[in-house]
Amino acid sequence: MADELIFQPAARLAAQLTAGKISSVRLLQAFLSRTMAVDGRVKAFNSHDETGALVQARAADERRAAGRARGPLDGLPVGLKDVIAVEGQPLTCSSKMLANFISPYDATVSVKLKAAGAILWGRMNMDEFAMGSSTENSAFGPTANPWDLSRVPGGSSGGAAAAVAAGELPFALGSDTGGSIRQPAAFCGIVGLKPTYGLVSRYGLAAFASSLDQIGTLTRTVEDAALLLGAIAGHDPQDSTSFRTEIPDYRAELKKRRGTWRLGVPREYFGAGLDPEIGAAVKSAIEFYRQSGCEIKEVSLPLAAEYAVAVYYLIATAEASSNLARYDGVRFGHRSTKAKDTVDLYCQSRAEGFGEEVKRRIILGTHVLSSGYYDAYYMRAQKVRTLIRNEFVCVFRDCDALLSPTTPTAAFRLGEKSADPLAMYLNDIYTISVNLAGLPGVSIPCGFTGTGLPIGLQLIGQPFQEADLLAIAHRYEQGHDWHTKHPALS
């Protein structure tokens, strides 16, 4: 009985709530007991507010009984990557620096979800300050992949992806700076959507790299992604980089948009380094689209393929070095007790509060912006970023979306790449250019490896054309049942 609930898509749960077949309290209890049963092994949660969640669930049931339900999300529990602010809840960014920090304010997405009646109850584990691809860089310990507990769930939104895959949550919000939603979604066999830069407000998202960060969704199905995106998208006067654009009913559009899509396949994304099993699964997905009447064309993104990772690690680290300067032990967060003077307070607090990867990136970014190096590194990286963006603009003249693998390999083993940062960085080779170009991208399940690990198909869309992108992804999902498979977790 519980199994039937916890692995159902959120849209179906919403329908059952609306039809009065289940209550919000009953639903929350199902997820709570699943979490109690499996999270000791998955370790997806940093914290959760059980009492508060139950109060909200009861309130949602009362609204529904009184005919005042706030819409499809009313009474559905949602997990938030521990980088998104909710008033009165911890906001740790999986860092010792913020281990005891409680946010005094709501992110814009939190305000929107609360208004829609969703229950914000879980704080999901992640790589510290969203820096990483495995969730091993968490100050509170790694999250495991529910499909194989000896493997990573991907990252940095690994806790959110693992919890959805493991049936601990119907859906969650993550953040994606270079692939941090799509890569863990691929590793965990779920749907991960990174919207166009500017579609979802970043207000209340603890910044890693401001020009690349974007909040997005981790869901069981494409329809759920459409449902959740509709609740959080839209212009926000508190985020200067948010964009004024019409927000369609993404869920309704899934069924309406049935074109013969023109789909590009970037030649360079199928070269050396791609695991043959992944390549085969993605090619068979491409074949599905061809047979369903879509026009498939080979395209070329030479600059994106060659330089995206290098450009990303210059721009993202530069911005991070400045964004993370506020964690200094003066106003909030970890403060060293050993400090002898002001400068020492900064040095000791940051030395104690930040983990290795965060320090590595702050040092790199500080160097990138230093006088004498700025032009050679930061400035040049920005120019190449523009060229990469232009490359996508050209390709999109003839394509509605691009198809590629999400990752070069399936989930790797815990500890396998922790000693080799460069190998870890290359895991995001297919996802990073999407952030540099500010485009929307979604990863959907497209098969399993011989050892039973999920494989992700990445679809890249045109700016602010999430309705098309999701409709294209939905067509594949309708023709397959990968998304109905669940990890045994026995």
Partner: protein
């Protein structure tokens, strides 16, 4: 050897806006510590800046007043450095594309005496840019407290070329700049509240040399007279070093205005690398021609331009115009009175003498004053028409200042009209002559001034209402003297 100084000023001015530079929290002075804060001011995780349009309007207006070129795009950069008064540990500022370029500040140097106009010069500006202010550290014994109320207040930095050559010129520059900015409604420029702060870059070189000497930055010049005194001290210090065969190192010095001394703070070797880069949280803002035109329409006449116009249009003396144009409201008050009364010179005198004295005595500002230009104009017309004497006019003025009643109403109610009734005047004069035999004898003996005693008695008897001119004529007639000599 003779030395010449080259001084450039960096002036920080807080803009007068309702809210802070990048958030809607109120900007203000004197609130309880850390009450003017929010997630953005405190740089909490996830907080984002949003630009305050009023601040941009104000700096563009300042730029237009000072003749700057306004850049078509307002771009934001981060200036990275760690200090506890800076919540983000970077300051949002403008690095390579300041919103205002060039421009000048017109200054007036001290004249030969107080009532003589001094030499005017136009001091070129390098740039004006917009940034956010930092918080305030209060150092106690053993600990320091931070107040972030000031943090995030819109702050404009005005940088002059090193074109000032003396402490007096620097003093004149700041005085003129402050007057201009206050009159434009840009800032209140109260140095005690830190709304205007000044650092000076000072170098000296032998007269005739064209290369600039090594500059020393002088900080903590927190009043206009400290600016003058601190710069004078630094010029003397550098001259003494060079005279003694020494060498000026590039450094930053802290001025102590109370002690009249300065001490070294840091040398060039400790200079910061601020790692400027464009702020990715803020979009560049286009400042188009329509926006500029809208602001240009609000730019007031500059004080020195107004002074020149007052000379020409109203033939007012230097001293009176100086007082008037130092205050925009006072100048406006004057012009309205002049227009209504047609008596600009009398208006100038009444305003700069009587009105300022009454305001000072009552400790109120012109805004709160009940006496308006129409009142003063009415009074001037009554004096002009001979309805009241100038003595009575002072009484009426004082009454108007207190009550805000029209002059005519006060004159009518208190029956203060000058008397021109010949019979009444003849009677008063005859009585006065009888009462002052000694003065009359002296007058007849040729002592012209002695007649004033008689006149005083008439005025007293008439309670000041007797028309002085008619009294004079009747007096002379009764005493058989010739009419008053014209001098």
């Amino acid at each position: 050897m003779k030395y010449e100084a080259a001084i450039g000023l960096e002036v920080h001015v807080q803009l007068r806006t309702a809210s802070k530079m990048f958030t809607r929290v109120a900007a203000g002075y004197g609130a309880a510590p850390n009450t003017l804060t929010d997630p953005v001011v405190l740089a909490l995780p996830g907080a984002l800046p949003v630009m305050n349009k009023e601040a941009l309007d104000k700096i563009i207006k300042a730029g237009l007043m000072l003749g700057c070129a306004i850049e078509p795009v307002c771009k934001w950069d981060r200036k990275n450095y760690f200090y506890p008064d800076s919540p983000k540990n970077y300051q949002i500022s403008q690095y390579d594309q300041p919103i205002c370029l060039g421009g000048t500040v017109e200054i007036e140097l001290p004249g030969a005496s107080r009532n003589v106009m001094g030499e005017h010069k136009k001091i070129p500006l390098t740039r004006i840019h917009l940034e956010e202010d930092v918080g305030k550290l209060n150092h106690g014994t053993g600990d320091s407290l931070v107040d972030y109320n000031r943090a995030g207040t819109p702050l404009m930095e005005i940088v002059s070329e090193p074109a000032l050559h003396s402490a007096d010129e620097a003093f004149a520059f700041l005085t003129s700049l402050r007057t201009t900015l206050v009159q434009g409604g840009i800032s209140d420029c109260d140095m005690e509240k830190g709304q205007l702060r000044c650092d000076a870059n000072i170098s000296i070189r032998p007269v005739g040399e064209t290369m600039l000497g090594t500059k020393v930055e002088l900080k903590n010049l927190n009043s206009i007279s400290f600016v003058r005194d601190g710069i004078a001290l630094e010029i003397r210090r550098q001259s003494a070093v060079l005279e003694g065969g020494g060498f000026i190192g590039q450094e930053t010095r802290q001025y102590d205005g109370e002690a009249g001394t300065s001490t070294a703070m840091r040398s060039k070797e400790m200079a910061h690398d601020y790692r400027y880069f464009p702020d990715p949280d803020l979009m560049p803002v286009k400042v188009d021609a329509a926006w500029q035109a809208q602001i240009r329409a609000t730019v007031p006449e500059l004080p020195f331009d107004r002074q020149r116009r007052f000379f020409e249009e109203y033939q007012l003396p230097y001293t009176i115009t100086s007082v008037l144009v130092s205050d925009r409201e006072l100048s406006d008050f004057f012009e309205e009175t002049a227009k209504l009364s047609g008596k600009p010179q009398a208006a100038g005198n009444w305003i700069t003498n009587d009105l300022l004295r009454e305001l000072d005595g009552a400790k109120i500002t012109l805004t709160d004053c009940k006496l308006r230009p129409s009142h003063l104009a009415g009074l001037l017309q009554l004096v002009e028409a001979g309805v009241i004497s100038s003595t009575i006019a002072r009484e009426v003025f004082a009454a108007m200042f207190l009550t805000g009643e029209a002059a005519e109403a006060i004159v009518a109610r208190q029956d203060l009209k000058q008397s021109t009734d010949a019979g009444e005047l003849e009677k008063w004069v005859a009585e006065a002559i009888a009462a002052n035999p000694k003065a009359v004898a002296e007058f007849k003996a040729g002592k012209e001034q002695a007649i004033n005693a008689v006149k005083g008695t008439v005025m007293k008897a008439s309670k000041g209402k007797a028309n002085p001119k008619l009294v004079d004529e009747i007096m002379r007639k009764q005493l058989g003297a010739s009419p008053r000599p014209v001098n």
